[in-house]
Symmetry: C2
Subunit: 293 residues, 2 copies
C-alpha cells in the first residue's frame, strides 16, 4: 500500500489564514494561523453535535465521530452523506433507523483534548475488543515512521496549533489527518478506514496528542493493537491500555520512547545510536516538548 494515501494539504487556502502582527522586537511580521469552523452533524434528521474543525474532510469526520461514539455500527449501511459548506452542516443517513435522544442527554467531559465525549457510550464496545496477538512493532519502524511524519508537509509546519494522527503499516504512514482538536483527527482516520475498508489488526496508530483514557479507548475500539505518541501518559490511559492488551508507546522522539503497556509486541532491532531524527541529548520527561497537545 502506497505511503500517504491521504494527507493534509497545507496549500489549501481555506485551512490557514495569513495574519499580521509583531515579534519580540516590535518588528512587523506576517504569519499563518489555522482556521477553525463550526460543523453541525446530523444523523437521520437528528442533530447530534456541533464540532469545531478545520473542515478539510467533513464526511470522514462525521462517519468517524458516529463510529467512535457507537452511534454508527460497523455493519450499518450509509445511504447518504451530504456536506453543505454554506450552512456548515453534514448529514449522515443510514438504512437502519436511529434515535439517540437519550444518549445525547448525558454529557461527560473527558480529560485533555476530549470533545465532551459521552463516555458511557464510548466504553460500550471496549470490553469486547480482542486486539491482534501477532501484531509487531520494530524500533527501527518507529524511528523511520516518526521521521517521515515530522518531515511531511503539514498544517502543523505551516501554522502550528494543530494535532496530527497517522494510521501506519510497519514504517509506512498511510492515512495522515490533522485538526484543531486531536479527537477530530482520530475520528477522520476512523471514518476513512471504515469507508475504504482498511483493516486495523496490522496497523499502528500515531498521535501527537497525549495518551489519555479516551485516546486509548478509541484506538482499542478501532481494533488497532499499537498506539504511539510523542506526548505523555495519563494513569487511566495506561490502566485501560493494560486491560485491553494495547501496546502503549509514549514520549516517542527519534529513537527514544517509553512503553507502559503491551511491551511484548515490540522488537528491538535498532542498535543504540541508530535511526535518530532528533538530537539525542536527553530531555526531562516533563520537558514542555513532550506535550504534544
Amino acid at each position: 500500500m502506497e505511503e500517504f494515501i491521504i494527507r493534509p494539504n497545507p496549500s489549501d487556502p481555506r485551512l490557514t489564514q495569513r495574519v499580521t502582527g509583531i515579534d519580540q522586537t516590535g518588528a512587523p511580521i506576517e504569519t499563518s494561523v489555522t482556521v477553525e469552523r463550526p460543523l453541525t452533524l446530523f444523523l437521520n434528521g437528528q442533530e447530534i453535535v456541533t464540532m469545531m474543525t478545520i473542515c478539510d474532510y467533513p464526511e470522514y469526520l462525521a462517519l468517524g465521530y458516529l463510529l467512535n461514539q457507537n452511534m454508527l455500527r460497523t455493519d450499518d449501511r450509509v445511504t447518504d452523506i451530504v456536506y453543505d459548506d454554506e450552512i456548515e452542516t453534514v448529514v449522515v443517513r443510514t438504512e437502519r433507523p436511529t434515535d439517540y435522544e437519550q444518549k445525547l442527554k448525558k454529557k461527560t467531559l473527558t480529560s485533555g483534548c476530549a470533545q465532551g465525549t459521552v463516555f458511557g457510550d464510548l466504553m460500550e464496545k471496549f470490553e469486547d475488543v480482542r486486539l491482534s496477538s501477532t501484531a509487531r512493532i520494530r524500533t527501527s519502524w518507529l524511528a523511520t515512521l516518526t521521521r517521515k511524519i515530522n518531515t511531511a508537509p503539514s498544517l502543523y509546519l505551516e501554522a502550528g496549533a494543530i494535532h496530527g494522527c497517522v494510521l501506519a503499516c510497519e514504517d509506512r504512514p498511510l492515512v495522515y489527518m490533522e485538526d484543531v482538536g486531536r479527537h477530530n483527527a482520530v475520528d477522520k482516520v476512523a471514518g476513512y478506514m471504515w469507508r475504504h475498508g482498511l483493516t486495523p489488526e496490522d496497523k499502528i496508530f500515531y498521535t501527537t496528542g497525549r495518551l489519555t483514557s479516551e485516546m486509548v479507548i478509541k484506538t482499542v475500539q478501532m481494533g488497532i493493537p499499537i498506539l504511539v505518541s510523542r506526548s505523555g501518559f495519563t494513569a487511566w490511559g495506561v490502566d485501560l491500555a493494560r486491560q485491553a492488551g494495547l501496546t502503549l508507546i509514549g514520549r516517542a522522539r527519534g529513537r527514544r520512547f517509553v512503553a507502559l503497556a503491551g511491551e511484548e509486541r515490540i522488537d528491538f532491532d535498532l542498535a543504540p545510536g541508530e535511526g535518530s531524527d532528533e538530537p539525542t541529548s536527553h530531555r526531562r520527561k516533563g520537558s514542555r516538548d513532550d506535550d504534544g497537545e
Copy 2:
C-alpha cells in the same frame, strides 16, 4: 502580593502514580504519570456535568466552571460548596435559585482542548466586556515570567501530559493551576480569583495551551486584558482577541514571541539578547515544540 500564593503540589501522592515500563532499549524503567478522576458537578441539586480532572482543587474548579459558563453570576452569593471524594461529586449552592435545563440540552464541541463547552452561553458576556486600556506588559516581565513558570515545581516536570495556567501581575506568578484539560486549569484560576476577590484589570494570564477561540473568550470574560501562551494561534482566536481588544501573545519562548492582537499594551524594554531562558536558536513556527497542548 507574594509569588505563587497557590501552586501545584507535585509531591501530593493522589496526583501522580508510579508505573513501570521499558525504554527504547528494552530496559525496565519506572516513571510518573498523571492521575485523572471523574468529578460530577451539581448546582443547587441540578447535575451540570462530569469532568475529568486531577481533582486537586475541586471547589475552585466547580466555581470557575460555573462562572465561565455563565451559570454563576459574579454577584451571586454561594451559600455552600461540598466536595465528596467518595462519590466524586462537588455541589455548589447559591442564594439565587438556578435552572439550566435548557442550557444543558445544547452541546457544542469547541476546538482544541475544549470541554464540550456550551458555546452560545460562553459568548453571552463577551460583547459587553471592556478590557483595561491602561494595562501594560513589558518584554522583560514576559521573559522573567516564563522562566519562573518553567522552573517552578509542577506536575508537568514530574509527570508531563498536563496543562498549566498562571495568573500573573507584572513579572510575578500569583496563581498557578495545572490539570489534564487546559480548561480545567483556566476554570480553577477563575474560581480562585472570584473566591478571593482578585482584580483582573492589572493581571496577565499565561497558558501552556493553544490560543483558540474559547481560551480567548474565557480570558476576556474574566476581564484579564493580556493573554500569553507558549503555543500557537487559531484564526478565530485572533479574530475574537482583536474584537475584544485583548492583547494576544503566542509562541512565547524565553524572549521570543509573536503578538497578533492588542500590541499597543506591549513595552519593548528588553535589549536584544537579554533575558532569554532558552536557546535562542530560531525554531520553525510549526516546530512541535510550539504545541503547548
